[in-house]
């Protein structure tokens, strides 16, 4: 029996619904010795802004019960650096590349797209409007529908490629953001970014992260992410890329039943780089076992 794992995000065709969560897979080469990059539905690279950015001081991560906090702070080579250092490498693979973009101010979001848009290797943009770890603004954009919409519109005006706003989880009304994204011409939304969080060392009295706060990721947030995906799915008809604590194929399937067309493996890469392939194979096995022909057969099928 054969099933069709292919899905589409706007004009981007993914050979299967599984990508990686931005920031957990570097820019591609880092895991290339351990993971066959041709197997992935898409490679999502770490956040890129127009200029080189230095990120936060260390410690940048901290392990919590069952998960982790990070406040990496979006260090990166900037758009030019990315094109020079990583595009030649990424070109070698038969896998679409989603570039996660961010800006210190509104304009940056347009600028970075202008700088990247000429590269065929760049298949789509994921717009990070929800990073809890940079002071410059990312987070604020993600929690007010107005400024959120402005950024999405701005990016929409700059490119024909698919654009995928990434939503913040710490809002009471995720559906409003999903709907705004759809109205502004987004091709999909990503749900969710890390959850704002903090840990304090009770001996030193200092936060465990140099940045004081960070984002919680991994298994602890999965039930939160499933709820957000479900809420968003009922409000929009564009696809959702679901993520948050996906460690097993069953987690990915749960996201899809909740309403995600595609899923991203994040923190699990650190724990077991084999997760991505295991998840792809597991989704296929689930579809076969349940007698489905395509991914669409299970997306949003939760019975309520």
């Amino acid at each position: 029996m054969s099933v069709d794992l292919k899905i589409k995000i706007g004009s981007m065709v993914m050979k299967n619904p599984v990508t990686v969560a931005s920031g957990t897979f570097g820019y591609g080469p880092e895991y290339a010795e351990l993971v066959d990059l041709n197997r992935l539905g898409a490679i999502t690279v770490k956040g890129i802004c127009p200029e080189e950015h230095v990120g936060n001081p260390t410690p940048r991560t901290f392990e919590t019960r069952g998960g982790m906090l990070n406040a990496i702070g979006l260090p990166g080579p900037g758009a030019k650096g990315f094109i020079k250092k990583y595009v030649p490498f990424l070109k070698q693979y038969d896998t679409p590349v989603i570039v996660n973009i961010w800006g210190k101010g509104m304009d940056d979001y347009g600028t970075v797209v202008e700088m990247l848009d000429g590269e065929d290797t760049v298949s789509a943009y994921e717009i990070n409007l929800s990073c809890p770890n940079v002071k410059e603004g990312g987070a604020a954009f993600g929690t007010e529908v107005d400024s959120f919409s402005k950024v999405v519109e701005l990016v929409r005006g700059k490119t024909q490629k698919p654009i995928i706003p990434k939503l913040a989880p710490n809002v009471p009304n995720i559906a409003a953001f999903a709907k705004a994204a759809e109205n502004c011409g987004a091709d999909a939304v990503s749900i969710m970014n890390t959850m704002p969080a903090m840990a304090i060392n009770i001996d030193t009295l200092k936060p465990e992260l140099a940045n004081k706060f960070g984002g919680l990721s991994g298994p602890p947030i999965k039930p939160i992410a499933i709820k957000l995906v479900f809420d968003a799915a009922r409000a929009i008809s564009i696809p959702i890329i679901g993520m948050g604590g996906i460690f097993e194929p069953e987690d990915a399937v749960e996201f899809m039943i909740a309403g995600a067309t595609s899923v991203a493996v994040g923190t699990a890469n650190f724990v077991d780089p084999g997760t991505i392939v295991r998840v792809i194979d597991g989704i296929e096995r689930y579809l076969i076992e349940k007698g489905h022909n395509s991914v669409a057969d299970i997306v949003g099928t939760v019975k309520i």
Binding site: L34, P59, R60, N70, F270
Partner: protein
């Protein structure tokens, strides 16, 4: 770099709180360079998910061994690992020590598990030299006989004086270094090459001396890690560049850095 499901061949107390874990790892073993490390997934580690990094203490065609100390949740849970069970590792990781300069006198400086990390280097180096090992007490000075068997001269120091010179490792190293003097040709300090593995203050102390006296010191940095492969940007340190500094990843660009390249943070 491989991800390998290994089988535990040997696991026992070594000395004090140090234990040795030997793994059958035919994919990983042959690739190992001295100074590289593994990311080990601790079986039955409750409530924590990340791997733990360990220097490779021994390696051959058939596998690898690590020598570790129980310091926290993960390393304590490792005590329950049984011979015969499966342990998942990723390795070898990191750059490893460079080829030693055959024109120079190799000097090893280590503290704590650093001795273990340097053992495989000592084994594989053609030229033998002198090793300074520091520790809190006699029980923390590892592998003296093994290094001596390889032809190394070992000079231990302990904080409490229970073995060798009393004091920090510098209490033995400094007199030796001063005796050699600067500019005295083959014997001069500028003609030694240091391979250092230990706690950060020791690394910095050795790096400062290297810069001051003009010799080379390869330092193995110990920074908390998450991915171990260069993807997450957790483990960065400041590396000097022409115009200032850049972040370098201890797991990928390191853990071995030359002292002149490091910009120490206070």
């Amino acid at each position: 770099m491989k991800q390998e499901k290994t089988t535990v061949i040997e696991h026992h107390n070594f000395q004090g709180e140090y234990r040795i874990l030997r793994l059958s790892a035919p994919a990983t073993g042959p690739l190992v360079k001295p100074g590289q490390f593994l990311e080990l997934q601790v079986p039955r580690l409750a409530e924590r998910i990340l791997r733990r990094p360990f220097s490779i203490y021994q390696a051959d065609e058939s596998g690898v061994a690590v020598l570790y100390k129980a310091v926290g949740r993960g390393t304590e849970a490792m005590a329950a690992i049984q011979v015969g069970e499966q342990v998942n590792i990723i390795g070898p990781l990191g750059n490893g020590y460079p080829e030693a300069d055959s024109g120079k006198t190799p000097v090893l400086v280590a503290g704590g598990y650093g001795n273990a990390a340097l053992y495989i280097l000592a084994q594989r180096m053609k030229k033998k030299g002198i090793a300074f090992f520091g520790g809190r007490s006699e029980i923390d000075i590892l592998l003296v006989k093994e290094f001596e068997k390889l032809g190394w001269e070992v000079r231990p120091t302990t904080d409490d004086g229970s073995l060798g010179t009393k004091g920090l490792v510098t209490a033995a190293f400094d007199p030796w270094m001063n005796q050699r003097g600067v500019g005295s040709g083959e014997q001069g300090v500028e003609n030694i090459e240091l391979f250092v593995c230990g706690p950060n203050p020791m690394l910095k102390a050795m790096g400062d001396r290297a810069i001051e006296h003009g010799f080379t010191a390869w330092l193995s940095l110990d920074k908390n890690m998450a991915c171990g492969v260069g993807a997450c940007l957790t483990c960065v340190i400041k590396r000097k560049t022409e115009n200032g500094w850049e972040w370098a990843r201890c797991c990928k660009d390191g853990p071995i850095f030359e002292s002149r390249d490091i910009m120490w943070e206070s």
